[in-house]
Symmetry: C2
Subunit: 326 residues, 2 copies
């Protein structure tokens, strides 16, 4: 862990150095390692995501939103495990020292970190093509982590929030949508893409209730495929039951399906629950302040089947979203 | 945590996915998070380093050595804290999928990981300019971490191994040294730069003995300055007592001093110990299989003073090494 060999890159560290707030952080930024003390008996959940310009964010993203998103996509992984966030590290490569950019990036990251009560405990800064790598640490009681491998035939499939707006925003940025038709809604769409809200509270509330969970980063079809493969099961999804904004619902059906099933960047939770537990799931969702929708069922037959509300097959190529490089 | 949205970048993950060996790794690569179980009562030591081509390694480095070095610089941070390595994550941005490069990178990383009994538990791969970000996790009993802030006036200053060969290799690569004069020694020099050995065993052996420690990544003068600042002390270093290879000792004195004091990339440990404990320090070093040298003393007067064996001041600009961007 270093500040990139001193010089002006050492200054970068100042934007990202604050005294640790959590009593679990024994030692924060400034030594060779950070020292963190998880609660007794807890297991450690760890995830790491690297964000690259042009693939995970557009050059037009305001720095503050970029700081938010870089941490949000990592917290979303903790949420999908039902882990309680503890701390994070940030490694940052920058082509040049741009104080306004750094101040914005730091502001966005700190706001989300504080909202989740976590500290930035260390990291690295260096010169290089823009790259943001965050690693997050959470804790979870032994045996209570939500895994991708727990889905069982008969389980119902649920999803949080609404899907597809982030992809719709990307289509708008790409000029594939008439911006005039979007008007004031564009700002809201853009928020969906640039300021995803990690569903940490929902993940915690689903401990002991969900049989499996994953966060939606690459599109429902692709991410669900991970769950099906690791659980050794198949699924049928009712595309008409997938939750969407009024704006997406007003788009042509083919575009709706593309955004809902292979949209990417949703950062909602997809999870499975044994049948007959709707009241408990809705209680958990209410506790977390996030709407949830039942949208399908886990089956013994391998593979993913997409149908409409009448049970008729919906045909399409729902490969996982390959971010902006697709 | 993802495999970069599938496609051929998903294949990358195969090089870096092996079943976890340590019983402390409850869940390795393949879910939203890794789950790690530190030993009861232990604190967690965390460090993260990002390596960028042209700054932290030359394009000429063999991929296997790059894989070694990317992990080694992180393990070196754990060593400097006296922490026992547990696991690591790897986030990797690659301009293109080059199977030979990836196989080499993975081979070097796995060899060092296995030598230290740690697992690669997760990470991320994406398309982008070459960037390697590793985060390591270790454990240390409460209160036993070696910190930069513990040096006290009267303590003696120690360093492990030999210093300066990595910098000498860089000078050779830059054409600043007559290669003919180096002959067969060049391969050994190059090893010092490309295959640093993290002093993990020494860090563990120094628990309860060293009052402070840091690993030498940016050059002794710059790294010692961190210890002095955080400990609120000063130091005098005897440059003639700094350990060096026969090859470095054969170079002009000014070059020797530059390589020893602001060389960078040494990845040896610099540590302080109360006076009169030479036998214990040498016992610890023997246990760890690394030579150590006493090379100075901590003092009340702030700042760093460099002297020769006769106590005469040695003048120079010993700023920290700014890697290859200096």
């Amino acid at each position: 862990m270093s500040a990139g060999g001193g010089g002006e890159f050492g200054l970068i560290a100042r934007h990202f150095t604050r005294p640790a707030r959590s009593p679990r952080v024994v030692l924060g930024v400034g030594d060779d390692c950070a020292i963190v003390q998880p609660d007794p008996g807890q297991q450690l959940a760890i995830s790491s995501d690297m964000l690259v310009e042009g693939r995970h964010f557009l050059p037009t993203v305001p720095p503050e939103r970029l700081g938010h998103k870089a941490l949000a996509v990592n917290l979303s992984d903790l949420a999908a495990c039902g882990a309680e966030p503890l701390a994070c590290t940030l490694a940052l490569a920058l082509p040049r020292v741009d104080d306004d950019f750094l101040a914005g990036l730091a502001r966005g990251l700190w706001a989300l970190a504080e909202a989740h009560g976590i500290d930035l405990v260390g990291g690295d800064t260096t010169a290089g093509p823009l790259n943001i790598c965050i690693t997050v640490f959470g804790q979870v009681p032994p045996g209570q982590a939500l895994l991708r491998s727990g889905a069982r035939p008969g389980d119902e499939l649920w999803v949080s929030g609404t899907l597809g707006d982030a992809r719709l925003a990307l289509e708008a940025f790409r000029g594939q949508l008439p911006m005039a038709a979007l008007a004031a809604d564009f700002d809201r769409l853009r928020l969906a893409m640039e300021m995803p809200q990690p569903r940490v509270a929902l993940g915690l509330a689903l401990r002991g209730l969900a049989s499996s969970a994953i966060d939606l980063s690459d599109g429902l079809a692709g991410d669900l495929a991970h769950v099906l493969r690791r659980s050794g099961v198949g699924a049928t999804v009712d595309v008409d039951a997938l939750p969407r904004s009024a704006l997406l619902a007003a788009q042509p059906l083919a575009l709706q399906h593309q955004c809902l099933l292979s949209g990417g960047d949703d950062y909602e939770l997809l999870f499975t629950v044994a049948p007959g537990r709707h009241a408990e799931v809705h209680d958990a969702a209410r506790l977390a302040g996030v709407p949830v929708s039942c949208c399908g069922r886990i089956e013994t037959t391998p593979g993913l089947r997409v149908v409409d509300r009448h049970g008729q097959p919906v045909v399409g190529d729902w490969r996982g979203f390959d971010h902006f490089g697709a």
